[in-house]
Structure formats: structure tokens, C-alpha cells
């Protein structure tokens, strides 16, 4: 879609020609995604939700299939399905019949499988399956960029606003609850934020690799940070570096964009592992 035709923002008119180049579009989109995924990824790591994030990401393919079937916007479809899957998981967990781990295993693979089956049935639409699974930078449009930066600004604003209850609930839900914060609500909002990141990051890295963009930069940042806030910022920067490195590599060696970004993120992680761990040392205060 040619956004410039109806977009009311004058700034976009001036950037629009530059955004004609698919590589620039992918780069701008990727940087935006990394800036959002870094801080959110910290919570995924702290709360041990890696498999949870994976399950939501896998359900994105079902979202893709349903979007084509119902002819709705792709990102909206993916967001809705990912959000529904996470809420279903919350409700199923409360019934305490199957372990969270088993529930995740069931939802993760069944939603992916249903998505794949549905896509094959829909012979009237041509879908580049590999693109959805592993990312396709050619697919990034100007609309996607607007969505990433608009949605990303909202996500980051919410994250800043809810930082305290989210962090307190991560440390201890009962403590947060007793002191008047609402950890359950914070958890639901965190899930919705994750669903939206998955929806906007899907085209770039693909459903199978989105979680890596959440987890690897955060894990990289851990070794370089002294506070939770620092870790969030460093994770965002590490993600931006990985996106840039991965996309340039992908252009250079003609590799798929998603896997290239993940490989770049892994290289950064390994470099951080080699760096000495930032240690908080107890400071002894001499008695006076």
C-alpha cells in the first residue's frame, strides 16, 4: 500500500522516497522491533516465560491463516490469536489439571499445526510459508513501519507506566499484591504487550524465531547490567546491533533475514559471555 498518498504526517512525505528501498525499510522496521523487544524480553527472561513466548509466537501462524480466511489485517489477526492463546493458557492454568509445561507444549504445537493445515487448505491464496516461518525482509511495507513505530511507542509507554508494578510482581506477586499493586492485571497486560510485539515482529524474523529476539538480547544485557532498568536499555541496544548486523549479513550473503538476525544476536551474546561479568560487590562500611 502506498501510504504516502493518504498519510497526514508531513514528515513521512520526506522520508517516503528513502523508504522505497526494501533494505532501508527492513532496517528501520528491524531497529524499531529490537527497541521494543529488548525491554519486554527482559521480563520474559526474569519471569522464565521463554517457552510461553514461543507458544504465543507459534500461534501466530494460526493468526496468519485466519487473517487470510477472514480477510482482516494480518497484524491484527496475529495479535488477536496470540492474545487469545495466552489468555486461554491463563485460564487453563487456574484449573490445575495439567502442568503449565504440558499445556504450553500442547498449545504451542497444535496452534502451529492447525495454522499449517489451514494454510494448505486455502488453495485460493498464495502464501509464502517460508517467509512467515523464517522472516522475509522483502515483505516489510511502509504500513508495517508505521505500525511498528506507532504500536511500539504505545507498548514502550505502557511498559514505562507499568514498570513498577510489573517489576514488583516479578520479584514477588504476594508482596506486590499486599502493598496495593495489582500483579494479576500486570501479568495480563504483559501478555498483551508480548502478543503485540509478536504481531509486529513476525514479518521480519518469522514466527519460529521471534522469541530469540526477546531472549537473546536480554540474556546478553544481563552480564553488562547492574540494575533492571539498565538491563532493559542495554537489551534494546543489543537488539538493534543484532538487527543491523543480521540484515547487512543477510544482504551480503543472500541468507534469510530472520536466521541472520538471530545468528548476529547469538554472536553478541557469546561476546558478552567472554566479557567479565559485571559484579555487584558488597561494600563494607568501616565502623566510625
Amino acid at each position: 500500500m502506498d501510504l504516502g498518498r493518504w498519510c497526514p504526517l508531513p514528515e513521512l512525505w520526506t522520508v517516503a522516497p528513502m523508504l522505497d528501498d526494501f533494505f532501508i525499510r527492513a532496517l528501520v522496521a528491524g531497529i524499531g522491533v529490537a527497541l521494543i523487544a529488548g525491554p519486554l524480553g527482559c521480563f520474559v527472561v526474569w519471569r522464565r516465560m521463554a517457552y510461553f513466548g514461543d507458544t504465543m509466537a507459534h500461534s501466530a501462524l494460526l493468526g496468519v491463516a485466519l487473517s487470510f480466511l477472514l480477510e482482516i489485517n494480518l497484524s491484527v489477526g496475529v495479535f488477536l490469536v496470540a492474545a487469545l492463546v495466552s489468555l486461554a493458557l491463563l485460564l487453563l492454568q487456574r484449573r490445575n489439571q495439567l502442568s503449565a509445561d504440558a499445556l504450553l507444549g500442547i498449545l504451542s504445537h497444535s496452534t502451529l499445526a492447525i495454522g499449517l493445515v489451514l494454510v494448505t487448505f486455502m488453495t485460493w491464496v498464495r502464501i509464502d510459508l517460508m517467509g512467515f516461518l523464517f522472516g522475509d525482509i522483502l515483505a516489510v511495507t511502509v504500513t508495517d513501519i508505521v505500525l511498528i513505530y506507532g504500536g511500539g511507542a504505545v507498548i514502550l509507554a505502557l511498559l514505562v507506566w507499568l514498570w513498577r508494578p510489573l517489576l514488583a510482581a516479578t520479584v514477588n506477586a504476594e508482596l506486590a499484591e499486599a502493598e496495593g499493586l495489582r500483579p494479576e492485571a500486570a501479568k495480563v497486560i504483559l501478555m498483551l504487550l508480548l502478543a503485540s510485539v509478536i504481531a509486529i515482529a513476525m514479518k521480519l524474523v518469522g514466527v519460529l524465531l521471534i522469541t530469540s529476539l526477546l531472549i537473546i538480547p536480554a540474556a546478553t544485557a544481563r552480564r553488562l547490567s547492574a540494575t533492571p532498568e539498565q538491563m532493559a536499555v542495554i537489551a534494546a541496544l543489543a537488539g538493534v546491533l543484532a538487527v543491523c548486523g543480521g540484515l547487512f549479513g543477510s544482504l551480503q550473503y543472500d541468507t534469510p533475514s530472520g536466521p541472520s538476525i538471530v545468528v548476529a544476536a547469538l554472536v553478541l551474546f557469546l561476546l558478552a559471555m567472554a566479557a567479565p561479568l559485571y559484579r555487584l560487590r558488597p561494600r563494607r562500611r568501616e565502623p566510625v
Binding site: V171, E179, T227
Partner: protein
């Protein structure tokens, strides 16, 4: 500040506690989940400057009752009256913080509210771990961590301090020191204290009221009274009652975690502290 607490409190606490204002009152409160009463008919009054200890076996409704007091749960029966704008300080049990979360003791204290650095230092000094301000919480020992959590709750200047099994995973001398600290906090701030404990062997002597729960209030009163009551003996058995030791202050000094020794009158023995510098404490 470190030194001031014990000596200064006398005057302050008298003023702060003068009112003995009721902070939370439960009247016949009950919580029902899936057709089963978790607790029922609980009457409980928590007043400023008083320590209430909830004891009872696992599943007796201690946590549920505490949640009624803090307002996390609403009663399905009876009534809960809480002071409007009540500030709660909460010390959770068995807190595990994932290694991936970089959290210093200093940052832990501002987890649920903003507090100036000076206030953080004062709170940490008050619980005797000022020297650990920059340490990561994952490096602390059980006793140090409980002190940090207590400082975190205290810095909020709570009207009500709720402690869930505060001495779990702390050795005996640490246990005694922690109970002493809780008493000091109560004396200095005049806040109400609600202690939850399944540890029947040590109940604070300063506890004004022990409430023994088993789905309902099975008995209540001063620690001595509860220990002798037939309901208590029936619930926990004579053997448990025989080992129930009510902690009293008979020692004349306390070892602070930074190696200093504090005499019973609150003074610090500095010579001793310097002696400690050279060896195992370092």
C-alpha cells in the same frame, strides 16, 4: 541512626502508640472457595503498636486471614474494616529472585515506591546491613536477606507491617536477632504488626495476642495463655506444647551482621568491632 534506635525509641513510641488505634478489624470474616470455607468466623483486631501472631498448621487459613487483613481478599462472610488509606509493609516468605534479575539491596528498597537515597541508607542501617547496600540480593545469606526485606517494608513507614514466616531459613541466633528487630520497628514506628508463623517452637514474647487458627479461631490470648489452652494442646499435641519456647530477652548483647557487637542498652562496642576486622568476619 544505627545506634539511635534502641535508646531513642522510648519517648517516640509512647507518643506513636498512645492511641492504640485500631488499624484493621475482622468480624466473623470468612473466605469461601469452590464450596469450601478456607477460614470462617474469624474475629481479629489489629491495633497500632501491637503485635498479633497467627499460628496454625498448614492449610489452617493463616495466609487467607492475612490476605483479608491486607485487603487482597474480600470476605465472603462477615465484615472487614480497614483504616482508610492504610499503608501496608509486607515481608514475604521464601522469596526466590531469579539470577537473571540484576537487583541490588538498594534497588530492592525502592521496589514499590520512591524513596530518597538517604532514607534507604537509614533503613538499611536500622536493620544492620548498611554495608550491603550495593550487594546483589542473590548474594545475601538467609538472615541478611530477611533484614533487607524488613528494611524494604519499613521504609514505606507502614501503618501495618505483615510478616509471613519471617525467620524461615534463618539460624537460631539470627532468629532471635530478627525478632528483636521486629520489636524495635514496632517500638520506633508504632505500627501494627501481624506475624504469620507455623513455627510453634518460638513465639515472640512481645506478641500481644496469639491467634491460633485451624479453619476458624481455635484459641487466642497471650502466648503463655495459648500454650496452656486445651484447644491448643488438642490441635498440636502435648509434645509440641512441651517444646513451645516463648522467647525472652535474657542475653546482654547482640552480634550485628557487620561484626559489631551491640550491648543491650543499644550502645555499640566499637573496640570489639575493630578486633573483628582482621579475621573470619572480613
Amino acid at each position: 541512626m544505627k545506634i539511635g534506635i534502641a535508646s531513642r525509641t522510648g519517648q517516640q513510641s509512647m507518643d506513636a502508640r498512645a492511641s492504640h488505634q485500631t488499624v484493621v478489624e475482622l468480624q466473623g470474616a470468612g473466605v469461601r472457595r469452590e464450596g469450601r470455607w478456607l477460614v470462617r468466623g474469624v474475629d481479629l483486631v489489629v491495633r497500632r503498636g501491637e503485635i498479633v501472631t497467627l499460628i496454625g498448621p498448614n492449610g489452617s487459613g493463616k495466609s487467607t486471614t492475612a490476605k483479608l487483613v491486607t485487603g487482597v481478599l474480600r470476605p465472603d462472610a462477615g465484615q472487614v474494616d480497614r483504616l482508610p488509606g492504610l499503608t501496608v509493609g509486607y515481608v514475604p516468605q521464601q522469596l526466590f529472585i531469579d539470577w537473571t534479575l540484576p537487583l541490588s539491596v538498594r534497588r530492592l528498597l525502592t521496589l514499590t515506591g520512591n524513596h530518597p537515597a538517604a532514607a534507604v541508607d537509614v533503613a538499611l542501617a536500622a536493620v544492620g546491613i548498611a554495608h550491603l547496600a550495593g550487594a546483589s540480593v542473590q548474594q545475601l545469606s538467609g538472615g541478611e536477606f530477611q533484614r533487607a526485606l524488613l528494611a524494604r517494608a519499613m521504609i514505606r513507614r507502614p501503618d501495618l507491617l505483615v510478616l509471613d514466616e519471617p525467620v524461615q531459613g534463618v539460624d537460631f541466633s539470627g532468629e532471635v536477632a530478627l525478632y528483636e528487630l521486629i520489636k524495635q520497628v514496632r517500638d520506633e514506628t508504632g505500627c501494627a504488626v501481624l506475624l504469620i508463623s507455623h513455627d510453634l517452637h518460638v513465639v515472640m514474647a512481645e506478641t500481644d495476642t496469639v491467634v491460633c487458627l485451624n479453619g476458624h479461631v481455635c484459641c487466642r490470648g497471650t502466648p503463655e495463655l495459648v500454650a496452656r489452652s486445651p484447644e491448643y494442646l488438642q490441635l498440636f499435641g502435648a509434645r509440641a506444647a512441651a517444646t513451645l519456647a516463648i522467647y525472652q530477652h535474657h542475653h546482654d548483647h547482640t552480634h550485628l551482621p557487620d561484626g559489631q557487637v551491640r550491648a543491650a542498652d543499644g550502645r555499640l562496642d566499637l573496640a570489639d568491632a575493630h578486633q573483628h576486622e582482621g579475621h573470619a568476619h572480613g
